[in-house]
């Protein structure tokens, strides 16, 4: 056979076989790579709902936006049932506007489950509140009385506590007013 045909044909066959091998490997690994990437991206969300199969974005109401809530995600089971919601908030505490308190709060079954503070410039009583709220039990996060007053009595912080409590109350109201 003419070399002009034979050589490109041989390279084409080798390229085709290699392409097939790559396609098969991609078929085997693609779903896992995508799922792992999504899991890494949602690592902060799994802190709230470790058993969630996936998370979906939810729309924010005007009330939530006014209460300094910047985002909301729903945690779903593998059957697409909502396990609970995670709200992302950015409120101004004692440290001021330049270093807002940024936190996420998870709500399920009508109760606040967990608050994770991701950024703040608080000091003194404000800092004490920030460290306390991150480790607070579910009972501490859901007091029978006013959330702001009870937290203030526990930590001694007033301005930062009130700002966080108002945002958390707005999130809880949104959750309870929803379809959960």
């Amino acid at each position: 056979m003419n070399k002009m045909i034979k050589l490109p044909l041989f390279l084409g066959v080798v390229g085709g076989l290699c392409g097939g091998l790559l396609a098969a490997t991609n078929y085997l690994t693609h779903d896992k790579i995508v799922a792992d990437a999504e899991k890494r991206a949602n690592a902060a969300l799994y802190v709230h709902f470790a058993d969630a199969a996936k998370f979906e974005d939810a729309t924010l109401s005007d009330t939530l936006t006014a209460a300094s809530v910047t985002g909301k995600k729903n945690a779903l089971t593998s059957d697409n049932n909502v396990m609970g919601s995670i709200y992302f908030c950015s409120v101004v505490g004692y440290a001021g506007k330049s270093t807002p308190i940024e936190f996420s709060v998870s709500i399920a079954s009508g109760n606040v489950k967990k608050i994770v503070v991701t950024g703040s410039g608080e000091s003194a009583a404000g800092a004490k509140f920030i460290s306390w709220v991150g480790e607070a039990s579910e009972a501490d996060l859901n007091p029978t009385g006013s959330r702001a007053d009870t937290w203030k009595a526990t930590t001694g912080s007033s301005i930062s506590t009130k700002a966080v409590a108002i945002a958390v109350d707005a999130c809880l109201a949104d959750y309870q007013g929803g379809t959960k």
Binding site: K3, K6, L7, F10, L11, V14, G15, C18, L21, L22, T25, N26, L28, T29, K32, I33, D36, R40
Partner: protein, 226 residues
Amino acid sequence: MKKSKLSIFMNGFIYENPAFVIFLGMCPVLGTTTSVENGVYMSLCVLFVLLLSNTVISALRKIIPDEIRLPVYIILIATLVSVVDMLFHAYLDYGIYQSLGSFISLIVVNCIILGRAEEFANKNTVVDSIFDALGYAAGFALALISVSFFREVLGTGKLSWAGNSVTIIPEDYAIKLFQRPAGAFIVLGCIVALYSVILRLVNENKEKKAALKAAQEKAVSTAEVK
């Protein structure tokens, strides 16, 4: 003269060690050896690619046209590297995958792989090529793991594997330089010097034994003639 399988293996593993003797594939030896775990996984990458490329190229050596053998080798090696990259991305701990980074993709241009394809697999049987690949991969693993062992111990004071670590020397005495590229050069230089001395002693010892054996055989044949 046909070489034994053991001598083919030992050639790549010891006498022509790719990193310590012929200085091939130095980028990963210097770049990925910050921890023993990285060294082991990089070695496995190279073993996988080298073993399969040598085997396939040796099996196809009679049907690959001589004019296009290099493009064919490159396509095969690039495919195997892409396969191992995808498998590592999917199944290896993501932290380790990230720390190996572009060095996995760079195996495509690793001189050891293409060198063995052209130098050995192209001219020898499949079984011999497998032993050659195993020898060179083992030699490369020896280099990666020994360099990473000293860099990790001297640079961090600890040895880590899968998130667990054992303290070898107190952290205060660890020298951070060994975790940096300059530390890799220093460690590699020291190991290469030591390796050269040991290899020279072994070779001299071998030559002495061979000379002694030859002299004895000569003496016996002379006595028989008399």
